[in-house]
């Protein structure tokens, strides 16, 4: 084949251009840390990258939801603990007041403490988390009980607030006032809360100095305490599930970010080696080109 000067030059330019293209690719990879910069570089990697990004973003959001749910339920759980404590004290006092040796003065003291416990109980029923009443079902903007212990709203056990903690996976995070303070029965606005009714009755009996009546209330107190325990164990079970979910999401997050990185991140060592290699080839082709292009017969004609 006859070779002309322009063929050599064109060939050299083409090859240099190819070299530069490859160098550009590796330089891009190193600068961005990504294997691809456009979907066409590798459509499969690109579409997988999109999917993984969504997955990772969702997992992060679910983690935040689980955190929120956990905070809400921790408040609930703490409040339930305090309610339990209050009820324990109520029971103690009720038992104590049944003692025949109590003087009216003693009974009045018990009544006073009982009064305070009632106020405390109403206060606990109106506990808020970040400005939201946690026992008010869907009406989180309204307190649950008035100062007498009557419901301020219609409340139903079905008013369950659900947080999404996974795709198609959600958890009920609230305890409704009706479940907790009304022995699991739906209530209408103005209706007296069952639990508070017990306390009111005890106080009324104490006021009347009727120890016998107070003693008769013990069954109702036990009943209410059992109800609180039932609710509390439900909350505990749900918190357990939250914790497991949190762990699983943490694992998922690590797995998916690892996958994402494997999918689209460049192997730095490999990219550097490739770049160095291309640099060498580029240098070699430059110097070879310089040799080939320069001399012609002109240089040797004197």
């Amino acid at each position: 084949m006859r070779i002309t000067n322009n063929m050599l030059i064109n060939n050299m330019l083409n090859n240099l251009n190819n070299n530069l293209n490859r160098m550009n690719k590796y330089q891009n990879q190193l600068a961005t840390g990504k294997k691809i910069s456009l979907p066409s570089d590798d459509p499969i990697v690109a579409s997988r990258a999109l999917k993984l990004r969504t997955d990772v973003a969702e997992i992060q959001q679910y983690k935040r939801n689980v955190d929120d749910a956990t905070s809400w339920m921790e408040i609930t759980e703490k409040t339930l603990g305090q309610i339990g404590d209050v009820m324990h004290r109520v029971r103690e006092l009720a038992v104590q007041s049944g003692n025949e040796t109590n003087t009216p003065d003693d009974l009045d003291k018990i009544r006073q403490e009982m009064e305070q416990l009632r106020i405390q109980m109403i206060h606990l029923a109106n506990t808020t988390y970040a400005g939201r009443y946690i026992f008010s079902g869907y009406k989180t903007d309204k307190p649950l009980l008035d100062e007498n212990g009557a419901f301020l709203m219609d409340i139903s056990n079905s008013e369950q607030i659900h947080f999404e903690i996974g795709i198609g996976d959600d958890i009920n995070i609230n305890v409704t006032g009706s479940d907790l303070f009304n022995n699991g029965t739906d209530a209408a606005a103005g209706e007296m809360s069952g639990l508070l009714d017990t306390l009111n009755n005890i106080i009324a009996a104490l006021e009347a100095g009727d120890n016998g009546a107070v003693g008769n209330m013990l069954d109702r107190i036990d009943n209410d305490m059992n109800n609180i325990l039932r609710v509390r164990s439900g909350v505990g079970a749900r918190m357990n599930r939250l914790e497991l979910t949190a762990n699983r999401l943490e694992d998922d997050f690590i797995n998916f970010t690892t996958l994402m990185s494997k999918n689209e991140d460049v192997d730095i060592a490999e990219a550097i080696m490739n770049l160095m290699n291309e640099e060498n080839v580029y240098r070699a082709s430059l110097s070879a080109g310089a040799r080939v292009i320069q001399p012609s017969l002109v240089d040797f004609l004197k």
């Binding site: 070779i3 064109n10 690109a46 689209e264 012609s296 017969l297 004609l301």
Partner: protein
């Protein structure tokens, strides 16, 4: 036997002429070494007509003559180059434009569609955990605006690109006409020169170069046709260039192409008044390849819909994005979605079925607020009622929703006026009035994100993923085609260069050769001069 005293001078002079002609040719070749399209020229040199000696001693040589100058060119390679260059042009354009289109989607990245949609759903999730928070509600509005703006911006960029491509098509048609004009002019010159029996080498080179250029722009065939005999018996050869069988250049005649603005859009998604390319004489033009075909496919390609080119170009992606915002908005607003994948649309709770944050327990009708509507002709978001009125039929009409949402395009996609004005109240999370902590309506909306029957391709992310990977695959394919064409045309061009290119070494060798020939011929003259000197001056009486 006697002959002319000065006959030797005649022969030597012819030698000088021949050598000079050779040197001139070397000079011409070297000068044009970098002229595009130039093919090296060669002189043909023969021994001049000898004298027949009457005494039977044979023929007497009379020196040399240059009988012609020819260009070294392989016409087969030219035809081959042109048939490949048209595909080079086509894929070059497609490769370049598809790359631009990919950049518009800005994926995969941390600021593309995925990031925008994830951001929107993240704030919705936050709203689900804290539905009464005004700051989260404001954030939902902002993120929703980002989603809408993303589509507006991508659609706008596609429109700009379509407009740009349309202008380029106009310019390319002018290029083609101008090239045809120049070729016709050269035809005339070449014909005039060659009628005397010469070969118009340099003009032919120029013509071939122009035809090469033309072959990148559009599918052409170029050939010489014999149209009779000249008076001297040679063939009367004329040069023609045809596009899909119809001559654009017929010897000195040019048929121009022209751009006509469309009265009716080819694709619904097109911008107005795109150009159709026709023959100026009104005939329809079939464009099979070349840069023009690349531009047309990108501009009009809608996957063969409504007779558009069988290519996924700008209208295709506009259509896909329109389809996305329509289905997405309809699902989000109305809750109309094929929830169980049985092929029949179901109606679950959507945003219209929710109640405002400040709703009171005695309300009986949902707020009926559509979260997403569209921009009106002044660029302001429509409210739900105005958007619904755009359907033009009663809500009882079976096509009510389809008609309502078919007004929507990616370019005009927007959040509704209600959401824009008062996100605090008008984002409807509850399905029962007066319950601020109730998120059942929002949950119904959120659950659709993972409904794989929302689109044929799956959920919203799957749909966009499909669009982007389709484009990625197309762009990759264009790149592969382009790479192949580059290699093919380069290889053919190499072979052409091998035949036609000027080699400095060769020319230098010829230079030396002709220089020596010239020196030798000059030496002959000197020798004859010395002989005559002896004859005239030395043999003196």
């Amino acid at each position: 036997m006697s002959r002319s005293t000065f006959f030797g001078f005649d022969i030597a002079t012819r030698g000088l002429y021949t050598a000079q002609r050779g040197l001139t040719n070397v000079n011409h070749n070297i000068d044009n070494i970098n002229t595009p399209g130039y093919s090296r020229q060669k002189i043909t040199q023969t021994a001049s007509r000898p004298l027949l000696m009457a005494d039977g001693t044979g023929m007497l040589g009379t020196g040399s003559d240059v009988t012609g100058v020819y260009r070294t060119r392989d016409l087969y390679l030219d035809a081959k180059y042109r048939s490949e260059a048209q595909y080079l042009g086509e894929w070059d354009i497609k490769d370049r434009l598809l790359e631009q289109m990919q950049v518009m989607y800005n994926e995969p990245s941390d600021s593309g569609f995925n990031a925008v949609l994830n951001g929107f759903y993240d704030t919705l999730q936050q709203l689900a955990t804290d539905p009464s928070s005004l700051s989260v509600r404001a954030a939902v509005k902002e993120k929703a605006i980002m989603v809408a703006k993303y589509f507006n911006s991508v659609a706008a960029h596609f429109e700009y690109l379509q407009n740009d491509v349309n202008n380029i098509i106009y310019a390319k048609v002018q290029d083609i006409n101008s090239l045809a004009d120049q070729i016709a002019k050269l035809n005339k010159q070449i014909y005039n020169y060659e009628i005397t029996g010469n070969t118009a080498n340099d003009l032919r080179d120029q013509r071939d170069y122009l035809v090469d250029k033309l072959s990148r722009l559009i599918n052409i065939q170029a050939y010489e046709v014999v149209s009779g005999k000249l008076p001297d018996g040679r063939d009367d050869v004329r040069f023609c260039v045809t596009i899909s069988g119809k001559a654009i250049v017929d010897h000195t005649q040019v048929s121009y192409l022209t751009c006509v603005q469309r009265e009716e859009k080819l694709n619904f998604e097109d911008i107005n008044y795109l150009y159709d390319i026709k023959w100026a004489d009104g005939n329809t033009l079939t464009i099979k390849s070349g840069e023009l075909k690349g531009y047309l496919d990108i501009r009009d390609g809608n996957d063969e819909l409504n007779g558009s080119p069988n290519f996924r170009g700008i209208p295709f992606y506009q259509r896909r994005m329109n389809e996305f915002v329509r289905v997405f908005a309809m699902t989000f607003n109305e809750g109309i979605i094929d929830i169980d994948g049985d092929g029949v649309l179901d109606n679950v709770n959507g945003h219209v079925d929710g109640y405002r944050l400040n709703s009171t327990g005695d309300e009986t009708e949902p707020a009926g607020i559509r979260f997403f509507t569209m921009l009106d002709e002044y660029g302001n978001p429509m409210d739900s009622a105005a958007f619904a009125a755009g359907a033009g039929v009663d809500p009882t009409d079976p096509d009510y929703y389809e008609r309502m949402y078919s007004q929507l395009t990616a370019r005009t996609f927007s959040i509704s006026k209600e959401i824009l004005d008062d996100p605090s109240n008008n984002i409807c999370t509850t399905d029962t009035p007066g319950q601020v902590g109730n998120i059942e309506n929002l949950r119904s909306i959120l659950s659709m994100r993972h409904n794989t029957y929302m689109f044929m391709e799956g959920g919203p992310e799957d749909y966009i993923k499909t669009i982007i990977s389709t484009m990625g695959v197309d762009a990759q394919q264009a790149k592969t085609h382009l790479d192949n064409q580059v290699i093919m045309t380069n290889q053919i061009d190499m072979r052409r260069q091998s035949v036609s290119g000027v080699s400095i070494d060769e020319e230098m060798a010829n230079l030396v050769r002709y220089q020596h020939a010239y020196n030798a011929a000059a030496k002959m003259i000197q020798t004859y001069s010395e002989i005559l000197d002896i004859l005239v001056n030395g043999l003196g009486l």
